[in-house]
Symmetry: none
Subunit: 238 residues, 2 copies
C-alpha cells in the first residue's frame, strides 16, 4: 500500500460550504489535518510559509479565484505545492493551472478515493524530496525506544531526550553489537582513543547512566560479562 503521510497539514480553500465540509471530513478521516478557508483573502491571512504540505484550491470562487490565489501564495513561498479542484472542464483552465505550477488538477465531481490517492502520491513525493539530504543518518530501534545517533536523541513513546555526546557514543557502540559482546577494551579505546584504569571506570558510569535512560522498557537489558564487556539485548515479549 501507499505509505500514509500522517498528520500532514493541508490548506483547503473552497467557497462552497457543503463541499468544503465534505472535503474536510474526507481528509480528516484519512488522518490529514486540513484547514478550511472560505475565500482567498482568508487563506492568505491563514497561510504560513512552510507550514502546509499542500494547498487544495478551488478555482471558481467569488473575489479572488484559485489561480490568483496560487500566484499570491507562490510569491509568499516559492516552494508551496498546490492542486486545483474545479467544476469547469475547460481545457484552457487546466493548462493555465499547470502553467502556474500546479501539481495536479482534479475535476469535480471527484472520486473520493482518487482524490486521496493523488494527494498521497504528492505527499509521498514531497517527503522523498525532503529526506533526500538527511541521508547518512544512523538510527536504531531498541525495544520500545528509538535511538537516533545523528540527532543524538533517544525517544520513547513520543517523549524525546537529547543525550550527551559520550552517552551517544556508548549507546551507539552497544547498538552496533546488539546481542553480542561489546568488549570494554574496544569500547574504551574507541570512545577515548586510549585506555587506562580510570577511563574504564568512567565507561562503567556511562553504562549505568544508559541503563537508567532505557529503564522504561523492562525488556531491555545491558548485561555485564565479567571482565569482558557488556551485551545489550531485548528480551522476547512474554
Amino acid at each position: 500500500m501507499i505509505p500514509m503521510r500522517v498528520d500532514a497539514k493541508i490548506l483547503l480553500v473552497e467557497d462552497d460550504v457543503s463541499m468544503g465540509y465534505l472535503l474536510t471530513t474526507i481528509l480528516q478521516t484519512e488522518g490529514y489535518d486540513p484547514r478550511l478557508c472560505i475565500d482567498g483573502e482568508t487563506a492568505l491571512k491563514e497561510f504560513i510559509p512552510g507550514y502546509y504540505e499542500l494547498c487544495l484550491l478551488d478555482v471558481m470562487m467569488p473575489g479572488m479565484d484559485g489561480f490568483a490565489l496560487a500566484k499570491r501564495l507562490r510569491e509568499i513561498d516559492p516552494s508551496v505545492r498546490f492542486l486545483f479542484l474545479t467544476a469547469r472542464s475547460l481545457k484552457e483552465d487546466m493548462l493555465k493551472g499547470f502553467a502556474l505550477g500546479a501539481e495536479d488538477y482534479i475535476r469535480k465531481p471527484f472520486d473520493k478515493d482518487e482524490l486521496l490517492c493523488r494527494i498521497n502520491v504528492m505527499l509521498r513525493r514531497n517527503e522523498a524530496l525532503q529526506e533526500e539530504s538527511v541521508s547518512g543518518s544512523l538510527r536504531f530501534s531498541i525495544g520500545e525506544y528509538h535511538f537516533d545517533y545523528t540527532r543524538q536523541e533517544l525517544s520513547w513513546n513520543s517523549e524525546t531526550w537529547r543525550m550527551t555526546e559520550k552517552e551517544n557514543e556508548v549507546l551507539r557502540l552497544l547498538c552496533m553489537h546488539q546481542n553480542s559482546i561489546l568488549r570494554r577494551d574496544d569500547a574504551v579505546e574507541k570512545i577515548y582513543g586510549k585506555k587506562d584504569y580510570f577511563l574504564g571506570r568512567s565507561f562503567d558510569v556511562f553504562i549505568s547512566r544508559i541503563r537508567k535512560l532505557l529503564q522504561k522498557d523492562p525488556r531491555i537489558t545491558i548485561e555485564n560479562v565479567f571482565k569482558v564487556g557488556f551485551i545489550l539485548s531485548v528480551k522476547e515479549r512474554a
Copy 2:
C-alpha cells in the same frame, strides 16, 4: 509557460499499433525522444536503468499487462517513474496503479494537451529533484519566515531585512541541516576556511544574532547540542 524538458527519453509501451504511432508522433513533435515497444517483454529487453526519464505504460495488453510490467521495471530500477494510460476507467485499476507507485494515471481517450501537460509537470519535477542543489537560487522556508540566500534576505510577514554576509552563511548552513545537527567544527571550517578558538566564539555570536532575527516566530528554535553543534527546527503549531 512550463519550461520544456527537451529530448527526454520516454519508454512507451502500447500494443495497439495506431495508438502507439499516434503517441510517438505527439511526443516527437513536442521534442521528446520516445521509444515504442509493443509489449511488456520487448520493453523489459529495451529497458536500461536510469536511461529513461519516464515510462508510459498501457494497462491492457495481451501477455504481460501494464501493472505486471511496472512491477518488473521497479525491480530492475527502483527509481523508475511511470504513468499509466488506459481505456479502462475502473476505479480499482486506478488505485492499483497508484499503489504500484505510479506518478499519474490517464484515461483514454486522452486529451493531447493534457497528456503533454502532465508529462511536462512530471519531468520538471524530476529535474527539480535532481538539480535542487545546483540551481542558482537557494531559498528556504523557516516557520513563518522566508529566507532567500542568493538575495541575502530574510523576510517575515512582508517585512524584509538584508542580512550581513556572515549571517547569511550561518543561516544557510543551519537551513541545510534543518532538523539535524550542524556541527560547529564543520560550520566554522566552512565559514572561515579554518578553525581556532576565536572563530568558534565568533560563530557563537552569529548564532546569537540569528536567534534574535528569528525570534518573531516562537516556534523556531536553534537548540544547542553541548560540545557538538546546533539544530534549527520548527515546532509543530499547538
